[in-house]
């Protein structure tokens, strides 16, 4: 594999915190001394639509946009979006990290579509030789911290080359303050250390 770039495609639903997750990864990569760029494509996402973010590490990246089907990693904060992101952007043999919660799309609630089962994702990952990392943190006090749970799992399993938990901690310190920072750092450390 050509190693002058590492492309990450992030996807979730408006309100889940994809923006913070993406900004943290970008800043962590910068703290790690890597060239990095990216872009959020939120559209009308605050209104319950999809939120997408592209993060590109390495000097070989020109556009802020990842090329369809070429991402090394897809990070999703919701089950339906995990499959959508993987279908469109993940290369065979890449890595899928997703938080396994479900925010039902409109047509599921209108009985026009079936809800997605996690087994469908696992099946597709096997066929495409994709490494599947499912994250679920029971008893999380605030669902808005699911993004940090995913971030911690990415660090614990060293899924982004060159980026470690120190870089991520520094990035979180750039972006958050006060009790919000403390709570997120506590969760981050718990996942990093607790399961090492």
């Amino acid at each position: 594999m050509k190693k002058d770039k590492f492309d990450i495609y992030l996807i979730g639903v408006g309100g889940q915190g994809i923006g913070l997750l993406s900004e943290t990864l970008i800043r962590a990569a910068d703290h790690a001394g890597l060239a990095v760029k990216g872009v959020d494509t939120h559209g009308l996402a605050q209104r319950g639509g999809m939120v997408v973010s592209h993060v590109r590490l390495g000097a070989g990246a020109h556009s802020p946009l990842v090329m369809a089907g070429q991402a090394e990693m897809v990070v999703a904060l919701e089950r339906h979006e995990a499959l959508r992101g993987m279908n469109l952007y993940l290369r065979d043999g890449g890595t899928l990290v997703y938080y396994d919660t479900s925010w039902q799309p409109l047509n599921v609630r209108l009985k026009k579509d079936r809800p997605l089962e996690a087994a469908v994702i696992s099946g597709e990952c096997r066929v495409r030789e994709i490494r599947e990392v499912r994250v679920f943190q029971p008893g999380l006090e605030d669902p808005r911290m699911q993004n940090v749970a995913v971030l911690a799992e990415i660090c614990r399993q060293k899924l982004v080359p060159g980026v470690n938990s120190g870089h991520v901690t520094a990035a979180l310190n750039d972006l958050l303050a006060g009790p919000v920072l403390e709570k997120n750092l506590a969760l981050f450390q718990k996942i990093i250390q607790g399961q090492k």
């Binding site: 319950g48 802020p64 065979d92 799309p105 609630r109 209108l110 997605l116």
Partner: protein, 631 residues
Amino acid sequence: MKDMGEMLLRPEAFSEIVIGNTALVRAMVESKVEVVTSYPGSPTPEIATAIASMPAAGRPFYFEFSVNEKVATEVAFGAALNGHLSVVFFKSVGLNVAADTFVQLPLMEIGGGLVVILGDDPGAHSSQNEQDNRHFARLAYLPVFEPATAAEVYSMFKEAASLAAVRRMAVILRLTTHVCHAKEKVAFGRYAAAPRNDAPRFDVKNGPYVPIAAAVFPMKRKALQKLEAFREYSEASPFNLRIDHGNPKRGVVTSGTAFLSLGDVLGFAGDLPDVIKLGITHPLPRRLLVEFLKNHAQVLVLEELDDILETEIRALAQSEGLPTAIIGKSELEDWIGEYTPERVAAKLDKVWPELLAPRPERSGTQPAVPSRPPQLCPGCGHRSAFYAVKKALADSDITVADIGCHSLGFLPPYTMGQVLLCMGASTATASGLGLFNTQRQVVAFLGDSTFFHAGIPGIINAVFNRHQLTLVIMENGTTAMTGHQEHPATGKNFNGPTLAIPLRRVLESLGIANIREIDAYSQKKLSAMVQEAVREEGFKVIIAKHPCMLKHTREQKRQGTWKGLPVEVDQKKCRRIHECVSVFACPSYQLAGDGTVRVSEDLCIGDGSCLQTCPATAIATRGQGEQNEKR
């Protein structure tokens, strides 16, 4: 935590990871801009967010959100006439509203200089079209800078501002969505605050400033001369970049993010074409392009949206008698959507089939995923209003939407707002739909910020010309869709408290007698009101009011005063009618495969607007349902 306001005003040079919109504000600060105006909208609202991060006392320029884009342009123009370097910035379709003012700018000697910032939206990520605003530059004889990255936004703004001031004219900086929002590390220069010259410097001797009849021609002549002088600057500008690979056969002319996509795609190429990346796309550097055309057998014009560069380059080749084969757009799809890396790869595969190595393909079955359209938020007053209005109307009645969060009412299950043009268009469109129409009721929707922006003329026209329609004004007390900016009825502007202009009083002052007002959560009453109103003669207005709950709950939570009462479904009472999940359709309701409905604790905000919708009264405040069972 890093402080954006401190960063933007930092005296020394520094580097920071920023989006294009933030880089732009640092460029304004360093360029000593004195007046900035706008009307909010995508993809440029973060410019105002960055401006707001600078404490008002230390902010080096005046900023206002004007009532619409035309007014914003006029305020900036007026300030620039007095010698203040000024900026107006727009959303993707904003220049349409300002067009009448904008096309006069080239005729004027603008002492302070004026930078017009366009935020185009190729891909229509959050706009009602993906119009190519470069056409406007040609209409108005104004030069255009087109950055591709956040770093270029910074450097090109500084250059545009400097040229606008020196040449006493308006200069356009055209951004696109993924230039505005792309993030990268940008190296900024130093900033030294300087005292402002408050002497009003407008002088008719610098004119003429009144383009009436024959006076127009010398003014137009001067505009054309300024444009030609800009072409000379453009010929030598380092912003027009030539990348030579010594390829005598193939060249590419491109600009903006299409250039970045090309950079990625050429990673798959063997024999690299030469490239010209235009940073100034109007007026075109003719000598630079003619030289490039002469040196290549084939030149591909890789251009997002319309074929503006292509047409001019073809004309250039024709007038110079050059044999170069010029390749441009070949099918309708080439005019549509963003030029992402995969689009550019597909285009190159078509034009030069052997150039790119094959990319790895995805295997697997690509299982279908339900689409996820945007929706009204949990607790949104518009949901209650649409749910109620729908019950009051016949399926054959006609509903007209306007721009705003309420545009989303067109989606199922509400399907309210069946036609949508642009800001403020609903009342007059509905007036036209009412002509000769005695069979189908016509109902228009309009938001409160849009009411002030462009809604009032249509309303006055409905009164003046005695049109027959019902207008439902969805008053949520903010400009919600674009990020909760103040508007003339809120009693606050960007800079602080101001006189509130209550919407209802405006309507009353226009002589509209038939006005009803109701909290949008009062669904039964609102429904009854609509039923009555549509049967009455003339122009009727219903104000359906409820604060934007996204803004309201955020503010209340910050103050610690939010008293949400989340709900749950009492499974003993639930008869699986599914009114909550499929008709009222708050996203908090989740439907299991067996027909059971539950409320997502992640999503329910505890607004209670759904309690009244259940025919089986199975929705209860969380905890209450269980208590009922115990009793």
